[in-house]
């Protein structure tokens, strides 16, 4: 990464203020982590689309680099009506953050010190721990210190460094060994839409051995504003864990959304991740998993919708570091108006990762002549006994299919909607939890119909 021409004094000032204003009660180790992360950020600077910087070839974050963001202040519960964000199911484990600050009045999971205490944690058969990351840090949950920043090191990525430097709160989810959590865990991040504020939501998810759970992260905005969300999620699984992750992003049309997810999978663990990007002005989402032991399986799905001037960049990376692991990826994009969709999918099969199965597909629907798609599926393979495929396609709605529907008396608009719906359903069907799927499907339908 190359240093951006513009210096970032405002970030330095803010970090200084942040360090000495409320953050000093943190344990010493965390203060060290933040300090070194900020050092990394200063060294790296924001990435540029300069020649040779392949991961940022198509995405220019200059608007972020040049804007001056301030840390979001805590706005007490402004009478936010959660009705619109409710999941259609009787019980959820819900945490709500407004501008990055925990909102106890809206959350369902008041976690006590006892609930987070280490000897209770991870006990077989207990319910999940869904709480504030700040609590977990304060109550010295050992897992937090062990895992925080381990999967997402601040050395190589400016946005990760920035998130860690300003790490204060977020969500901490722990599923004890052998626990099946029937109801969805819902992490709701709401931005009030104030201009030029930045939030750094941090999420740490640890799935115990043979556990099973669904976690939905949802990013919304109350009002249009050019704010920045720089989210970072770290996911660790124990052997046999089955974790279903879903992310729904409907930020304001002027907002910047940077999201990084780093996962590590243990033996026979299974992660299914579905990301749905419907909002934002500039979206950059990196999803990476390390398949570190045999039998690990990951299913990465994504749907991105571009309208107006939106720029959506999805980068995935699957690291097959052990034999007998499998991965599957399906990313689909719908690009309208003068939007710009980017997909880059990396699959690395390391030496001796025999018996690897890796499939990847990226399909894009171009609905407007001003829209652009850049897709780059990458395979890097160093083992011979593997089955790896990737495919990419860019096109418009099938004229024959449209004609078929119209010849059956279906109007052009309805026919188009049907075809688009069919196109996206492959991704949405990967959401296993019924309530979450229904919720996301509705959001997608609203978004697609609203634009037409």
């Amino acid at each position: 990464m190359t240093q951006h021409a513009t210096a970032t004094p405002s970030w330095a000032d803010q970090f200084h203020r942040f360090e000495h204003n409320g953050a000093e009660i943190s344990p010493a180790w965390l203060r060290d982590v933040r300090k070194s992360a900020f050092g990394n950020f200063e060294r790296l600077g924001f990435p540029t689309a300069r020649k040779g910087n392949e991961p940022w070839k198509y995405t220019n974050v200059r608007p972020i680099a040049e804007a001056a963001f301030t840390l979001a202040e805590h706005a007490p519960d402004a009478g936010i009506d959660l009705h619109a964000y409710e999941l259609p199911c009787p019980r959820v484990h819900q945490l709500v953050f407004v501008d990055g600050h925990y909102e106890p009045g809206l959350s369902t999971e008041p976690v006590s010190e006892a609930g987070l205490h280490s000897d209770v944690l991870g006990r077989h058969g207990d319910g999940p721990v869904v709480g504030r990351l700040a609590d977990a840090i304060e109550y010295r949950v050992p897992l937090v210190r062990e895992q925080l920043g381990r999967l997402a090191p601040a050395e190589g990525n400016a946005f990760t460094a920035l998130n860690t430097a300003f790490l204060r709160d977020g969500a901490f989810v722990q599923i004890p060994d052998g626990t099946f959590v029937p109801e969805p865990i819902y992490l709701l991040f709401i931005s009030t839409g104030a201009q030029a504020v930045v939030t750094h939501p941090r999420v740490l998810i640890a799935a115990g051995a043979d556990s099973s759970a669904t976690v939905l992260q949802s990013f919304h905005s109350l009002d249009g504003g050019a704010y920045l969300t720089n989210a970072l999620t770290e996911v660790v699984t124990s052997p046999g864990a089955n974790l279903r992750l879903c992310t729904l992003q409907i930020e304001s049309g002027d907002a910047f959304h940077i999201a990084t997810t780093r996962m590590e999978q243990a033996r026979d663990s299974r992660v299914s991740s579905v990301v749905v990007d419907l909002g934002g002005q500039l979206v950059r989402r990196e999803t990476a998993t390390l398949l570190g032991a045999s039998g690990a399986d990951v299913n990465l799905c994504g749907l991105y919708y571009g309208a107006g001037e939106r720029h959506v960049d999805n980068q995935t990376f699957v690291d097959h570091a052990a034999p007998g692991a499998s991965s599957n990826e399906v990313y689909k994009g719908i690009l309208d108006d003068s939007s710009h969709g980017v997909f880059s999918g990396g699959v690395l099969v390391r030496p001796d990762s025999q018996q690897t199965v890796a499939h990847q597909v990226n399909k894009n629907l171009l609905l407007s002549s001003d829209a652009e798609v850049d897709t780059q599926p990458k395979l890097e393979i160093y083992a011979d006994d593997v089955t790896c495929t990737h495919g990419a396609a860019v096109g418009q709605l099938d004229a024959d299919a449209l004609f078929y529907l119209k010849s059956r008396g279906i109007g052009e608009d309805v026919a188009r909607n049907l075809l688009v719906h069919g196109f996206v359903s492959e991704v949405l069907d990967a959401i296993e939890d019924g309530a979450v799927r229904q919720h996301v499907e509705q959001a997608v339908a609203e978004c697609l119909s609203g634009s037409r």
């Binding site: 040779g52 392949e54 030496p351 001796d352 025999q354 894009n364 171009l366 609905l367 407007s368 002549s369 001003d370 829209a371 652009e372 798609v373 850049d374 897709t375 780059q376 599926p377 990458k378 395979l379 890097e380 393979i381 160093y382 083992a383 011979d384 006994d385 593997v386 089955t387 790896c388 495929t389 990737h390 495919g391 990419a392 396609a393 860019v394 096109g395 418009q396």
Partner: protein
């Protein structure tokens, strides 16, 4: 098989590794303005060409000064000392050659050993050959036949003298000197190459062919090929390459430019068998080549077919600019990387005109410690209505120490485009091997049968005599690599 020594295998698998004792005239090692002037003077070039070279030279030195060497390819090699290379080597004495009798007998013997139909009687084989020995073109056969049709097939240096207007118009029009690092180097010091012009409406009666041979020690080869197919013409052009076995790495940085006007078709086939280095990665040719065709006219067609079995490092992306409406670009490639070979190859299809189509079939084979990368770009510009692309790149892995990589870029700026990309990576399956062995084939033969099947889509695009050579090359190269 396993008991044979590495040395035996190496000798067996590269049978073009000898050198020829010819008196050579060469430039001293190093690159400077004087050398560029010296080369130009040696070749009796006009002033405009010298200026063109100097512009390229200054551009290259700027790039070198800024250390702007291309670093994106998936290959590793020690830094190249551009001052240690001799930029010009030619067999001596350089007389005006009129018939085969005047060509150095040693050189003729060389070509005979290479199996090139250079001699008069072999004209009947229907191949016109331009042979490039080190840096200069030794002779072009079958000139008369071609002259009857108005086809110009000569060395570039000759064309500069005889058809300066054509050379001046098209040289650098597809690959400008500023295109990339090695293209700049080539533009500054290119020594010779082939020039082809097919007049309007002519279907070239012979397969045109160039054979490239690096012989001199410490030299690089920088040839430049320019093919122009005028309206409604057709030409099929073949190129082959080989080099002696040496411990040093020699640089080959060629530029090939194709121009197809309205309704013209160019078929360009390559069998590249430069010395790949020994099994420990010592020696071998660095093959850093820029090849690009321009479908300048409507309904024109350019097709690249390549079989890449040699070179220590291959860095090569034969591309097509689809400028004319309804033009077509094709790329068929087989790349083999074994031993310590590294191949980073692919294509660029740039859709500019309306209703253009492109097709990419790439087959990569990795064996031993070889690393094979397909790197391709399909770009559809906003005005390219109705562009269609199909890409398929398959990789075959033999052994667990090799690597196969696929890095396609797809950039689409027009919604009417239809772009499809498919890729797969597998090994030779045990079931297939077992099936063949059960029918009495030795394991090695079975593998060879399967590999031939794997590359068939590409090899069948080659002219017959090349197809046979390609099959044999693959077979020889894969001996002893049963995974």
């Amino acid at each position: 098989m396993t008991n044979r020594t590495v040395q035996e295998l190496a000798e067996q698998s590269y049978k073009y590794g000898w050198t020829t004792e010819v008196e050579e005239e060469s430039a001293p090692p190093g690159l400077s303005e004087e050398i560029v002037r010296w080369i130009s003077e040696r070749k009796g070039e006009p002033e405009w060409l010298l200026e063109w070279r100097l512009k390229a030279y200054h551009h290259f030195m700027r790039l070198l000064g800024d250390a702007q060497l291309p670093a994106w390819a998936n290959v590793t090699h020690p830094p190249i000392d551009f001052q240690a290379i001799r930029y010009y080597a030619a067999p001596k004495p350089k007389l005006e050659l009129e018939s085969l009798d005047q060509v150095d007998a040693e050189i003729l013997k060389t070509y005979e050993r290479l199996g090139i139909p250079l001699e008069e009687q072999k004209r009947l084989a229907g191949v016109a050959v331009d042979a490039i020995f080190d840096s200069v073109s030794v002779m072009t056969t079958a000139k008369e036949t071609l002259a009857k049709y108005g086809v110009i097939f000569s060395s570039v240096s000759e064309a500069v003298k005889e058809h300066p207007e054509l050379v001046r118009k098209y040289l650098g029009s597809v690959v400008p000197h500023s295109d990339n690092f090695y293209a700049a180097l080539n533009s500054a010091v290119f020594s010779d190459g082939s020039f082809v012009y097919i007049p309007p409406g002519v279907r070239c009666p012979l397969e045109l062919s160039t054979y490239f041979r690096i012989n001199a020690e410490g030299s690089g080869q920088f040839e430049r090929t320019l093919i122009i197919a005028d309206k409604g013409s057709y030409v099929s052009y073949l190129e082959g390459c080989s080099a002696p076995m040496r411990d040093e790495n020699q640089l080959h940085a060629a530029v090939v430019e194709l121009v197809a006007l309205d309704d013209a078709e160019i078929k360009y086939s390559t069998i590249q068998n430069w010395y790949p280095g020994d099994d420990n990665g010592k020696g071998g040719i660095y093959n850093f080549v820029t090849k690009r065709g321009k479908c300048a006219g409507d309904r024109s067609r350019i097709s690249w077919t390549q079989v890449e079995t040699g070179s220590a490092i291959t860095w090569k992306y034969p591309s097509v600019l689809l400028q004319g409406d309804h033009s077509t670009g094709e790329f068929y490639s087989v790349a083999l990387a074994k031993g310590r070979q590294q191949a980073d190859t692919g294509t660029k299809m740039t859709h500019i005109g309306k209703n253009t189509s492109s097709r990419i079939i790439s087959k990569g084979i990795s064996a031993g410690h070889g690393n094979n990368t397909y790197r391709g770009l399909v770009k559809v510009l906003p005005k390219a209505e109705g562009a269609v692309n199909f890409t398929q790149c398959d990789s075959l892995l033999i052994g667990d120490q090799c690597g196969a990589h696929t890095v396609p870029y797809i950039e689409v700026q027009n919604r009417s485009a239809s772009v499809e990309h498919e890729a797969s990576t597998t090994k030779v399956s045990e079931e297939q091997l077992f099936y063949c062995q059960q029918r009495g084939l030795a394991r090695e033969d079975a593998q060879s049968v399967i590999v031939n099947g794997f590359v068939r889509d590409v090899v069948k695009r080659l002219p017959l005599e090349f197809a046979v050579e390609a099959d044999r090359l693959l077979e020889v190269n894969l001996e002893g690599t049963v995974g």
